[in-house]
Amino acid sequence: MTWLLLSFLVLPAATGSPVTPIDHSFFESRVRPTLIQHCFECHGQKNTRGGLRVDSREALLKGGDSGPALVPGKASESPLIQAIHRTDPKRAMPPKAALPSQAVAYLEAWVNAGAPWPAYEPVRVRKTGAAPLANPLAPNSETLAPALQVWLKADGTPWKNGQPVQLWEDSSGRGHDLVATAGARNDGTGTPGIFVAKSDIAGFPAVRFGPTTGLGGNAATAPAILGDAEFTLVLVTRVRGTQGPPDALLAGFGEPSGPVNPGKARCAIIGINPIGGGKLVLVGGFGNDAAPTRHAGAGAPLLDGPPVILTLTRAKGPLAASAQFWINGIPQEAWQGNAAVPDLARRPDLGFFMGHARPWLRGFDGDVAEVILLNRQLAAEERQGLEAHLSAKYRIPLTGPVAQKSGEKTEIGDPAFQPKHWAFEPVRKPPIPDGPAGLENPIDRFIAAGWKSKGLQPVMQADTRALIRRLHFDLTGLPPTPGEMEHALAALTPWNDREWAALIDRLLQSLRYGERWGRHWLDVARYADTAGDNADYPVPEARRYRDYVIDAFQRDMPYDQFLREQLAGDIMAAKNPADRYAEKVAATGFLALSRRYATGPYEFWHLTLEDTIDTVGQAFLGLTLKCARCHDHKFDPPTQNDYYALYGIFESTQFPWAGAEEFQSMKKPREHFVPLVPADQVALLTANQPKGDKMVNEASRRRGFPTTVPLAYAVQEGTPRPAVLQRAGEPDKPGQVIDRGVPAFLAKSAIHIPAGESGRMQLAEWLVTRDHPLTARVMVNRIWQHHFGKGLVATPNNFGTRGAPPSHPELLDWLSASFRENGWSIKAMHRLILTSKTWRLASGGNPLNAAIDPDNTFLWRHQRQRLDAEAIRDAMLAASGRLDLNRPGEHPFPPITAWGYSQHVQFKDFYPSLHRSVYLMTTRLQRHPFLALFDGPDTNATTGSRTSSIVPAQALYLMNSPEVKTEAEAFAGRVLLLPAPERLKTAYSLAYQRQPTGEESSGAESFLKNYAERAGEKAAWTSLCRNLLISNEFFHLD
């Protein structure tokens, strides 16, 4: 209420700025940032100069050593404002430079408006300022290029997977290439490394080394790093376990020689000591005195660990003392050793080498993606920059001081700060309020408590006929047939709970139930039959997911299982192929349906994943996570790190590509659709493919699979990798690497993602953990919403601080707890709600109640509702008798071989159908003309609740469209088959599920008579039937 009043206050025009209300967003956008940027450093949590903090209203009111800093409503008397006006130089603030005049005006206006400080600020730690990560520095950047001697990169090479690497070309431009046999020096026992397109280094291309793999230079290609020269060597590698001693050789300079001939030994080599997990070993000295020195292993063990960025530098001077090394930016303990300086000058031609070098010195086992050798020791910022570059490139988190610097300034909020937001608190099952006898359903008890507290008198129960109609539409989306209506009327008497429950059960068993309630979920899943790219390619396989959802509701699949399968069904199917393999695979269509963009495969992929994350967030958590793509969420706790932790999970997931313009122009086939059968059966089905048919071959090529293999638009496990944070949401501004995980503010502990997995399974398991505060609440609220027209939380996709608070928090928690206790059964929840007396109330008004609770928040009556788009169409088809209740097969898309869609020639078909509306083919670039007109779902973004608009275009459609005309004619034709006395009754019964009153009958008779006189009986009946179909009564449910 305070905020509503405050929103009337406006900035005085005298400040020269446009008239702006001093409200929440004014504070957040104009006041708080100024305070954070200019004041917090000295007057915040860390420093309180002059005893003053300015990070809360209370602190300002309390003030510092010289008294209160703020007089609300009186800027001129507030020391804070006086200070920023700088009238008294001794008290001028900030000390160094004046605030911009606009900022002064804003603060002044804010104080004059009473200095409102939003009392509720759930963001615990608000990071400000840009991520202070070291600026990434590429090896060929201006600073580093002059020192760059060797630069080996496995990416961007023309090699094929599995190909031996005979020559690894140097990208420094200096020609310091490494060749395979030279690794073995003149003994000739080396073998080439093998190129792996997807290595152990987060799936990046790399060269795989084995114990006998060696690469090295020769006189022509050796970099001039000699004697006690400085160098910096950076390796991106993952080292595998090695059996027993001796040390495995990683890289080195010069020529290692056996102890048998110490006189020839001259080298500095880096090895790995397999004992103790693989610490780094430095071997050198090897000077003219020929006394080899082995320095003990140091630093963190490397074997079988995650991929690392290994940085080794050496200054001039003794080897051990002058060498330093870092693993992922973390400085490692120094080597201990003697003061020897290796003499490399005697064999300058041998240069730099990697891996195996001598028959008695085995190479290391592992993958190397990139090697950078520079001929000087880098300064700290340079080294950190290079590491930041590699970290972003290879998704290797830097855990050293570089990354720890992030979030320079933090605002620890108000002292009055309440970290608690109801939705993030655990669900506790409250006791059921007491209530009078006859109110046994707990829902009624909770609701009645609300009536009592507000002084509301509930209206009566709805009449039986209205209830039956309401129930049928609610559970099946269709009106009762005249027979069903009569049958139910005969059985039901007011508050007859036994028969009522029986009717509910009968409808829950009806196949129509899954179609109705599945559709509600398809709204949330932003279901469509096209991909959404610039040409809007058809996805014939999308329907597998649609059917999966309908079937899941039909069979009352527990919601936790439903959730798991949609996020990780493929993983579950692989574990137990015998159990519902196809369905589980199809379930991940929920993710695959993410919106596609542009014209090529996986273009603007960060936007597609934004849709994935946004949909997962809103659907399961009721959280709008996409704000955190570019910055920490302004109003809710999710941070940018939370966003990219999820991003990594989905980036580690392989999504299908359904085609786009380049499918047409460059003939790129579709990719990564998922067979509905396990791999072994794919082989069998492939064998069934007819041979030699040109069209079949072409169709198979374009599909990505033989035509005999059934496919789903689904996801599968990809290459596991952490995400790189995108600064300001820009993919070309990489920030630090973020480990995969779930939003930290909701998780008691980080999830553990086993090696080789994306983390979707763990995400799903975390969502359905017993004490998750959101999952059950969000789903129970959706169920409630579709029964009552409005959720207990009116913003079903937003349970954050900007969402609506629950109207009945205890009821919501009680229902959420019961939902879990009943095994997440959605049908049990239906039964509970539909058997309540609250649901069965009439929809009539009551002026006294309306004065207290005009929006019916406290449910003193049932909310009258307009039919939604699907119900309108289905009910019209039911009345006309043309509705086809079978589930249709594939949509009549043109054959895949005929697809040539581009942004110039988009796919924009719609197909006529007599099936239920849930089966209509819907696209993304064009909204379905009928569904769009009647507020159907958005196929581009998750829809939590639909609007219900009234626009003249609807009236035009209903009066004049050929579609309604056709249904009206069929409806009239059906009625006209009957004997005259039955006609009007049947027409009313089919349209309204009731008989006409005497007055209505005579009115209709006279209309028919007048109309028929001019146009004949058939036209008259068509007109009557059309108007029944488009009238208020047909469209609304009492």
Partner: protein, 454 residues
Amino acid sequence: MELSGRTMDRRQLGIASLLGYGWTRRMMAADLRPLTPVAPHHPPKANRLIKIFLTGGFSHVDTFDTKPALARDKGKIVDGFNLRGVAKVPLLPSPFKFTPRGQSGLMVSELFPHLGAHADDLCVIRSMKTDIVEHFQASLAMHTGSATIPLPSMGAWLSYGLGTQNSNLPSYVVLCEHLPYGGSQVWDSNFLPPVHQGVRVVPGADPIPNLKPVVQDTTLRALEAGLLDDLNQRFSGARPGDLVLPARTESFRTARGMMEIAPKVLDFSAESAETLDAYGVKPGDNGSFAWQCLAARRLAENGVRTVEIIDSGASNNWDAHGNMEEHRPKAKRADKPLAALLSDLKRRGMLADTLVAICTEFGRTPFDAGLGRNHWHRAFTCLLAGAEVKGGTTYGVTDEYGIDVVENPCHVHDYHATILHLMGIDHERLTYRHAGRDYRLTDVAGNVVKSILA
């Protein structure tokens, strides 16, 4: 319910919750008729907008941004970049002659002889920029401010922010023969209430969907209207206090009004032969570009807030990759009717409070190895006229080849902010709460180009 960002609504809601039922009724009534005119943020210069969107991307250096240096340095190799990389490409001079036109001497190419005669009314913004150089994304950006995710169209925002002046016509009409890149998303209301979405008029025999009555006989139509009103009123009469039901009944009356008015608006028989001739509308013509321009004037005149003409559609448009001569027939089709539209508006005294915005997706590369030009988003040209915008002027400067903006850049967001400003709207204050945040047409950017305003 998520609150709308219109100050009017917020204030009404605040009062309503303080005073209770009666006020709420009024507020809901206003909500149910969301096209009621709303006061602008400041006195507007323009009461209506006619937007002409030339699809495909017309070339700035061949139309309104004359570049003699291209001829001088013909064939000079520059770093050109295209969709997928950088290449060395020779400069390509314009095959079209530029001459100074009007009192102002504004340089206009031979492609627009008639429009050039209106040079003194045109404000040529030569420093336009957009973010993504693909048709789909750039079309979406020019319409919704967003190059990637579909958001409400500018016409929908104007409808939401200002309402309409004629309840018998939609507040945003799109004359669109062929779908543009991005399809109907470009005029969609997206998360704004659907009443604000553009109504597509397809030039031809049946321009507004479902406008033609299924029952031709007017007596029967009246009978039917009586029946429907009776059915509806019977139902709502028994349910007092429900405001949705009468509003729905009312929507049928409005629709009947549209059925009556809209065909008259699109019926040119009252136009003088002189006017028809000036536009180039021939007898029996019901769909040419000339017809669309005249229809735009008539719709605007009858109170439609935003009329948009989408020229050509997603193929066979200004996308002249192969040869710049392909601009000639496109320009020929648009030039005379556009000129006639400006004179017509002026003659009727409407130009002073009508904003005419001629815009496109992006420009075209000043360089090419062939005879055509590729997409170019770093610099292009759009026009404004009317609404007291300074005519005969240019805003912004590109370098001597038209490759980059060197002075006063005008991003699409700035163009939108300026149009909204002229329509009386502060682009930072026209917001709508959706999915937990306040959205606006200009995202978090946009500056009004003040210097071109009178």
